[in-house]
């Protein structure tokens, strides 16, 4: 339907917010759209780990519950997505520097092996940006630059 209405692409955002079953549905939808239409698909996650509300669901032989960003990326690639958006959650007990370092480490693990562009989520409470209604811009700009220069992200 979207293809017929002239949509240029599909963006699945906050994927797997309700766990492994939702992630499976998204991967299946991505495969269908990528194989049957010319529309690119972006898959962006909701959190860093896929929660196992079902627990035993698999995609092409890989169990979805408990997957981390660099493992999610492999499945998203296989499903035919054009862009993957990994999420790294912040630990609000830790410093901004600690959180940016952790987020960039996860993202670098994705970009090191990815064949498709990686666009990490860098916003409130994810990707090293503090959980706060008014984002401290010195920290946002540091997280932003770190994701590109150290994490080697292809975009945000």
């Amino acid at each position: 339907m979207f293809a017929e209405t002239g949509a240029d692409a599909i963006n699945y955002d906050t994927v797997a917010s309700t766990g492994d079953a939702e992630f499976l549905a998204t991967l299946r939808a991505t495969r269908t759209i990528s194989s049957e239409t010319d529309m690119p698909v972006e898959v962006s996650m909701a959190a860093e780990m896929v929660l196992g509300f079902h627990g035993e669901l698999e995609y092409e032989g890989t169990r979805l519950a408990g997957l981390w960003p660099h493992q999610q990326m492999k499945l998203v690639e296989r499903a035919g997505a054009a862009i993957f958006g990994p999420v790294v959650n912040n630990n609000s007990k830790k410093s901004c520097a600690w959180n940016v370092a952790r987020a960039a480490t996860f993202v670098k693990a994705c970009t090191a092996e990815a064949t498709i562009p990686i666009h990490p989520n860098v916003g409130n409470g994810v990707g090293g940006v503090p959980m706060f209604e008014v984002s401290p811009l010195d920290m946002v700009s540091r997280a932003s630059a770190a994701m590109i220069e150290i994490g080697k992200a292809d975009g945000l």
Binding site: T5, D8, A82, P117
Partner: protein, 117 residues
């Protein structure tokens, strides 16, 4: 970018790591990323198509002139220059890519190969 400004975060990202979107060649590089090209490959592809260096792609002064000359849309509306779908159609030709909305326009208006007989 003061207290309570909802655009505060976006503006910080724009200044820290953004290419600049339609002000530069950011939109073109993004379109090639949607074709599964990673950042460096996408920049190289766009630079070759535009006939500029990779560094020029992020230079808003250079790209303003290049975009005006190629008529592929600029950040401010200029009388006589392409905008909206006109610019999109020219970008599709320039980058040799398929853009769904452009194809639909061609089909519906009878202007392109996708037009019904």
């Amino acid at each position: 970018m003061g207290t309570g400004d909802p655009n505060g975060m976006g503006m910080a990202h724009a200044l820290a790591s953004s290419m600049g979107g339609i002000k530069t060649a950011g939109d073109l590089v993004a379109r090639m990323q949607l074709r599964k090209m990673r950042l460096n490959e996408a920049k190289q592809y766009v630079a070759e198509k535009l006939g500029v260096s990779v560094l020029d792609l992020s230079d808003s002064t250079v790209m303003r002139t290049v975009r005006e000359e190629l008529d592929i849309g600029v950040v401010t509306a200029v009388p006589g220059l392409a905008k909206g779908l006109e610019a999109k159609a020219r970008i599709a030709d320039l980058l040799d890519i398929h853009i769904n909305s452009v194809e639909r326009l061609k089909a519906k208006t009878g202007l392109g190969a996708g037009a019904p007989a």
